[in-house]
Amino acid sequence: MTDVSRRHFLQLGAATASALPFLRALPAHAQSGDVLVAVNGQTINSLDLHRTGTNRPSYQVAINCYDRLVSFGTKPSMGGGLEFDYSKVEPELAESWTVSDDGLILTFTLRDATFQDGSPVTAADVKWSFDRAVSLGGFPAVQMKAGGFTRPDQFAALDDKTFQITLDAPSKLAIPDLAVPIPFVINSKLAMANATDDDPWATEYLHLNTIGSGAFKVARWVPGEQLIYERNNDWASGPVPAYKRVVIREVPSAATRRAVIERGDAQISFNIPSKDALEMSDKMEVNSTPIANCINCVGLNTKFEPFQDSDVRKAVAYAIPYEAIFQAAAFGRGAPLWGEETERSEIAWPRRTGYVEDLDLARAHLAKSGYPDGFEVPFSISLNQLDWMEPTALLIQENLAKIGITVTIDKIPGADWRTASLVEKRLAFHLEGFGGWLDTPDYYFFWAYKDGHLFNSSNYRNDEIETLVDNTLHIPVDDPAYAPNVKRMFEIALDELPRIPLWQPALNVALNGASDYEFWFHRQLDVRPIKPA
């Protein structure tokens, strides 16, 4: 289509749109400046984060359409643009808050804000929303529990503007856990009006409607095609967004996504392959932010014979071609985690492991082990994450063959991957890429190194780590015990090596015609700060 005809159609479209009833007059042209078009490869399957079965891409609705009590501040990112700052908790719907001396009582004062139907946001709404988050079960309840929120009786609306949480035990994770997408605030009156006896939490209604006080509301949602946000001009918890309307378009083919962003038909392509990020970075703004508290690593399942031998694990660690993998799988995007640590502080995580590619050392360790002649093992990767897992697996396979370990690569369908790797933990040798939302090392260790915990796909158990994590998880970062505990955890984990860290992956986002992208730990597109370039 030529530019002339584009403009022509634009005018026609606008004219027709204005003539149509409000709700139908949705699409308009992308280049008009009022509309942001973002493409991504995944389907949004619900507008309600609390609902059973809501997938990860749907979290962005909670972020863009609802407010939480608090949020994090931002800082310049090494990947370009801004990223969240875990150390700075900032107000969102809460104007201010206090913490009791024993750390058990959190009291929040709400700002004057209104829901999108015009009714004011009250503490009762917050209480209802939090009750819902801990009552519906599933992932929301698990995440709430991380901050110490488990039961509705912990939440109380003292008056219209005052909301109080009572913790069972003090925790440094409590307030940060209120900044994750889960505890968003819903218009409880409207929700309850649409609740039924079978469905007291109005999940069916919220599944299809956004009734928050956030910066946007969902004006139209066609699963599998697109989702359209419309700006809430009365948003109280932050500066009014620059775009009136945001179209999130679902484009499954990565090649098509690239074509569309390069041609300028979309302004944001979210979560693009590293290779595209590398190649497009000279043509447009590309942010590649290393994902906080996230590590792509090799899992060595200690339930399986050869990997119970620590020399075998070390042999594998020395046999991995780190640099080649980082280039082939990540195209140098992200942060390397091999070799000696020189930049980060002693308690920073993720960190370099000290291991390098050294086949002689690898052979030496293998010779010392119970398997001097090597062994055969399947290496499992997920079909849904082939972009990084496949090259990684192939390169590891090739190098391990050189030291006598024969590896067959096993692609596991996406639906089975979680069951096999995380729930049943039955994959002997695999790749894993957990990232913790709350950015502290102990939080990572809690999920990934504690026996029986979900992301401990290696079935690793070390009694000292168990104790260390339990003792460290809730104490503040400035507690004197904190740093030694964390350092000891690193020492054990990197010596025993149930997981071999490879690199810290980056989230790549390309912007063509838009700017002011911010990286957030939840790895979803926060459209609120985006502005036209």
């Binding site: 399957n45 609902r51 079965g53 997938n55 079960g137 599933g138 098509t256 041609r263 639906a415």
Partner: protein
């Protein structure tokens, strides 16, 4: 008489549909992966997974699940898709027209090319035109559709910039026509909105070409074979001896007789293409049932997979019925044989 034919056909279809329902049920349960785990979310623990499992009704023994599924079906409830979060029936209702529109346009295009090609080849069998035609259509069916699609996007959208962005059924620029049939072309024409009509047509061009290239071969081959047979029939000689002009003989007499096997082939190609749409839809971000099915299958989304297959089976039955009726229109002999 024809009514009886239709009735007999429908009766025959019943065991087929029942079989499809059973096989799909078994096949979906055999899919790897536990949907409860998949949908419980990233950080779910045992308890919450169990909770999800109970909500999905996956804790019951299989026969019981099947009985409940069939019961729901009979009440017109096809279940909810977990990956889109919508009732399967409404998903299908929205996506089926998209796939049908694409497939139909592609087949129309394909017929418009393949039938004249086949006729041309049949009127000069063994000539260089015949061989060329055979080689061309064979080349078309040898190209993987996803490859053709990407190549077309690269050339016509990315390099030449003559095609619109491959983003589904309609550019942002246009307003979706009020849904009447679900076919954007028809709906926009009904609404008299010719801009939208043009927009929808533009979006259709590349995917339809991709599919048409792939479906040329069977249609052209069958046209050629049927035309050869028709042209060597005695009645063609009668027509020639009676001095009828060549065009009338080839198109009026031979082609109409050759249409019967061509229609059969068309039916098969149609149902095949509708299933093979999957790959084209993936490439062109076409919101059809093909991509829906793939996503559902990968996510072990039982209700969606079952609903998709059942819908396709019903469509297949309907299609066969339509073909039978078409036969009766084309060939007066049909319908009398049945008595």
């Amino acid at each position: 008489m024809r009514a009886r034919l239709v009735g007999a056909r429908l009766l025959q279809a019943i065991p087929v549909v029942i079989g499809v329902v059973v096989i799909t049920f078994v096949l979906t349960r055999a899919l790897p992966g536990d949907p409860a785990v998949y949908f419980a979310g990233d950080a779910a623990d045992e308890a919450s997974i169990q909770q999800v499992r109970e909500q999905l009704g996956l804790d019951a023994p299989l026969p019981q699940q099947f009985i409940r599924y069939v019961g729901d079906l009979l009440r017109g409830d096809w279940g909810n898709s977990l990956s889109t979060g919508q009732p399967v029936l409404s998903d299908l209702a929205r996506r089926l027209p998209a796939s049908l529109e694409l497939t139909l346009i592609a087949l129309l295009l394909s017929c418009a090319i393949a039938i004249p090609l086949g006729v041309m080849a049949a009127t000069r069998p063994g000539s260089w035109r015949d061989h060329l035609c055979r080689v061309l259509v064979t080349a078309g069916v040898s190209l993987p559709t996803f490859f053709t699609g990407i190549l077309l996007i690269y050339v016509f959208y990315y390099l030449l910039d003559i095609a619109p962005s491959p983003l589904g059924r309609l550019d942002f620029l246009y307003i979706e026509p009020a849904p009447v049939t679900g076919f954007y072309l028809i709906d926009s024409a009904l609404a008299g909105d010719w801009d939208t009509f043009g927009g929808a047509a533009r979006q259709l061009v590349l995917p339809a070409i991709t599919m048409a290239i792939f479906t040329l071969a069977p249609i052209a081959r069958m046209t050629r074979a049927a035309m050869l047979q028709a042209l060597s029939s005695d009645f063609i000689r009668t027509a020639r001896a009676a001095g009828l002009p060549r065009g009338r003989i080839v198109y009026g007499y031979a082609l109409r007789n050759a249409l019967l096997p061509v229609v059969t082939t068309l039916g098969m190609v149609f149902s095949f293409a509708l299933g093979a749409n999957v790959l084209v839809e993936k490439v062109f971000a076409w919101p059809g049932i093909g991509s829906y099915a793939v996503d559902a299958l990968v996510a072990s989304d039982y209700a969606a997979v079952q609903g998709f297959v059942l819908a396709m089976a019903l469509l297949f039955v309907t299609l066969n019925l339509i073909i039978d009726l078409l036969y009766a229109v084309i060939d007066p002999r049909i319908g009398f044989d049945a008595t």
